[in-house]
């Protein structure tokens, strides 16, 4: 039996900010879910199941928050699932929800991911004082910076490429009312003059810490037929994992990422991603990850990704726009960040991305990764039904 086609018919986000002190965690997720329902013109009664994701419980210190959030998400009396795959969780959460529909378990599913970083301490959650280990480092930037240097060495990329990405993403964010950072006076010079935190990563090339939630309503063919607005159709979705560290791991371009992309392209019938995909919303928490992922995802040959960035191909009006929303560099409620990527891909093919809409976007890739580059999740969505 073939799989049921899956459509995105509702998308909702909160305005991402540094701190939402006016709402509880329940109030935050509720706001995104309510907006997704409104977009789909559905009510709580139309939802068959809820799939929720967030980063480690340690971050906010609420253990198994899905239990406490059931009533805020209308899940009482319905199946509720929690997904966790570190920073990629927003993407894998959406894919778990997708599979419930593709497998005809449920007709319409609410999927949602969030983080309330103002009430959490990610740095602490990731840097526990493990006995017998030598404390050397705190924070994700120091973990990823050596990999960025390895990329620069491997490809010979000029050291300005990271600043070009940050400058582009921050300008894209100005067109996205939901983005956290709205730096109206941003200039390339300002990015390049910002202090080095973990050389070669500058302050302006890192992501902010945000409070935010993102929700989507996924449905089957019958649900899509009732949708008041054009749906985004799933053409392919996949997840892959590998260990954080192992002998032979390519930290610059992990095999799991390549395999995940290849699976998605196979499902979607993509022969040449650079030609067949109109735009990409990828998980770039540090600016250099744009050229790195362009290679990992097959949009450029190995060693050539930075040339796409440098020549303006990835600009909003370029030939392959990347991170139209402003990306993780402009908004990072960790648990939600992957889903925001997936939602942006869906917004684009629905033609509902507003000022950051890519003209004629028909097929867009959403990408997320997490942990020490060990979890990957991706989906490719299109304006047309995969069966049409």
């Amino acid at each position: 039996m073939s799989k049921e086609p899956v459509a995105v018919v509702g998308i909702g986000q909160t305005k991402h900010v540094a701190a939402r002190r006016d709402v509880s965690i329940a109030g935050l997720v509720r706001e995104a879910a309510g907006r997704a329902l409104a977009d789909a013109e559905l009510t709580w009664a139309d939802i068959d199941a809820v799939v929720i994701g967030k980063a480690p419980d340690f971050f906010e210190g609420v253990m198994m928050p899905e239990l406490y959030l059931a009533d805020a998400l209308g899940a009482v009396g319905k199946p509720m699932l929690r997904v966790h795959t570190a920073g990629s969780v927003g993407g894998s959460t959406a894919l778990v929800a997708t599979n419930l529909i593709a497998g005809r378990v449920h007709g319409t599913v609410l999927t949602l991911a969030y983080e309330k970083q103002s009430e959490s301490n990610a740095m602490w959650g990731l840097s526990l004082p493990i006995p017998f280990q030598q404390p050397l480092l705190a924070g994700a930037g120091g973990f990823f910076a050596p990999h960025v240097r390895a990329y620069m060495r491997r490809t010979g990329a000029p050291d300005t490429v990271g600043s070009l990405v940050a400058y582009k993403d921050r300008r894209n964010a100005l067109k996205n009312p939901y983005a956290h950072l709205h730096e109206h006076d941003i200039t390339l010079e300002k990015v390049q003059a910002s202090p080095m935190l973990w050389d070669p990563i500058r302050y302006s090339e890192t992501c902010p810490s945000s409070d935010g939630a993102c929700a989507m309503i996924l449905t089957d063919r019958a649900g899509a037929a009732r949708s008041p607005r054009p749906p985004a159709w799933l053409h392919g979705g996949a997840m892959r994992s590998e260990p954080t560290l192992f002998a032979g791991k390519d930290c610059v371009s992990p095999q799991a990422g390549k395999d995940c992309a290849a699976d998605v392209y196979r499902q979607a019938g993509i022969a040449d991603p650079r030609r067949d995909i109109d735009a990409v919303e990828m998980y770039v928490p540090f600016s250099w990850y744009e050229p790195m992922w362009l290679e990992n995802l097959g949009f450029a040959e190995e060693g050539e990704g930075w040339k796409l960035t440098e020549s303006g191909v990835t600009e909003l009006d370029g030939d392959l726009p990347v991170n139209m929303s402003g990306g993780v560099l402009s908004t990072n409620p960790i648990g939600a960040s992957g889903m925001i990527r997936f939602a942006e891909a869906a917004l684009q093919v629905r033609g509902q991305a507003g000022e950051h809409q890519v003209e004629g976007a028909r097929r867009v890739l959403g990408h997320a990764y997490g942990g020490g580059s060990q979890f990957f999740s991706m989906w490719l969505v299109g304006a047309e039904s995969p069966t049409s």
């Binding site: 002190r21 009533d71 805020a72 959490s120 030598q134 480092l137 960025v148 260990p243 560290l245 032979g248």
Partner: protein, 313 residues
């Protein structure tokens, strides 16, 4: 074989919570010695109140006052109160349905012993002397034989609302690094670095994990590596971490010790930070009593060729 190590690991953090309108009213009420519930669409009063209707999922905002007296609906005796619990003498954990409420609130019940507690018994709130807008403003419940008091019918609007709380969390673990890491740490005490070779792929893991993450098989063959190695990649850290006693800037590097198939992480010293480079040859520097090398310094050898370490970044 050396003993498997164990040590306490305490994880604690003062989490902040934004309350939202309903919990804000509830906790502010406790500060003012008023217990509030919330009215649902089907006419029930939930205490403690929730923000969303568990039946219809709609927003809830109609706050109603209930009495500080109520009835125990079920309970369990706590023989040995632990750190942070409401009372430091044995007490009952009780679910109490306050007069006017349809649901029960969990709290401590101060009673002389389990024989003095029964389902259906009448109790009342014992207020804390110092109240801040927290669930601990109810010190506990206590047995009560009197009448049900009159309540004023408060609507939940107060001066100076409590909008956030601090919720300290603490977890006590006993941490053990396991057999392989214990042996590795034991070797370090004699300033030797000993990894383990995978019997399948022959790769040498340092530090060893006891199993090969690629092949999924147990490793046991011990292999001494180093002491010299090559800096494969690095970053210059300019942020002073709160919990680290290291002056910035410093170089955090991936170091492939000679004979290891995976780089480990260490700090580079004995050379200006801006002269560190990929391929630099280094050796460990130990300090008296240190469990690990304090840092690595240049050996003075010529730099390693990129091709010799490009798989070990």
């Amino acid at each position: 074989m050396p003993e498997v190590l164990k040590a306490p690991l305490v994880v604690e953090f003062p989490f902040t919570r934004s309350l939202g309108p309903v919990q804000s009213a509830f906790l502010t009420g406790l500060r003012e010695r008023v217990v509030l519930g919330v009215k649902t669409a089907d006419g029930r009063t939930l205490v403690p109140p929730v923000e969303y209707d568990p039946v219809t999922a709609e927003d809830l905002d109609e706050l109603v006052e209930v009495a500080p007296t109520g009835t125990v609906t079920t309970w369990a005796w706590n023989h040995e109160p632990r750190r942070g619990q409401p009372l430091d003498t044995p007490f009952a954990w009780a679910l109490v349905r306050l007069d006017g409420a349809d649901t029960a609130l969990l709290h401590a019940l101060d009673a002389p012993g389990p024989d003095a507690v029964r389902t259906g018994m009448r109790v009342r709130v014992r207020w804390a002397a110092q109240r801040t807008g927290a669930i601990t403003d109810i010190a506990c419940f206590e047995p009560y034989d009197g009448d049900r008091p009159q309540i004023a019918g408060h609507d939940g609007r107060f001066e100076d609302m409590v909008t956030g709380i601090v919720a300290p969390a603490r977890l006590d673990y006993v941490y053990s690094p396991g057999r392989a890491q214990s042996a590795y740490i034991d070797s370090l005490s004699s300033r030797r670095t000993v990894g383990e070779r995978c019997p399948s792929c022959r790769k040498v893991y340092v530090p060893p994990r006891g199993a090969c993450p690629t092949c999924g098989v147990i490793t046991s063959e011990q292999v001494e590596v180093g002491p010299r190695g090559t800096v494969t990649t690095y970053c210059i850290v300019n942020i002073k971490a709160r919990n680290l006693d290291i002056e910035v800037p410093y170089v955090y590097a991936h170091i492939a010790l000679d004979g290891a198939d995976l780089a480990l992480h260490g700090r580079i010293g004995g050379i200006p930070y801006d002269q560190v480079r990929m391929g630099l040859r280094v050796e460990p520097v130990w300090t008296e009593g240190g469990r690990h090398p304090d840092h690595y310094r240049p050996t003075g050898e010529p730099d390693a060729e990129y091709d010799t370490y490009k798989e070990l970044l």
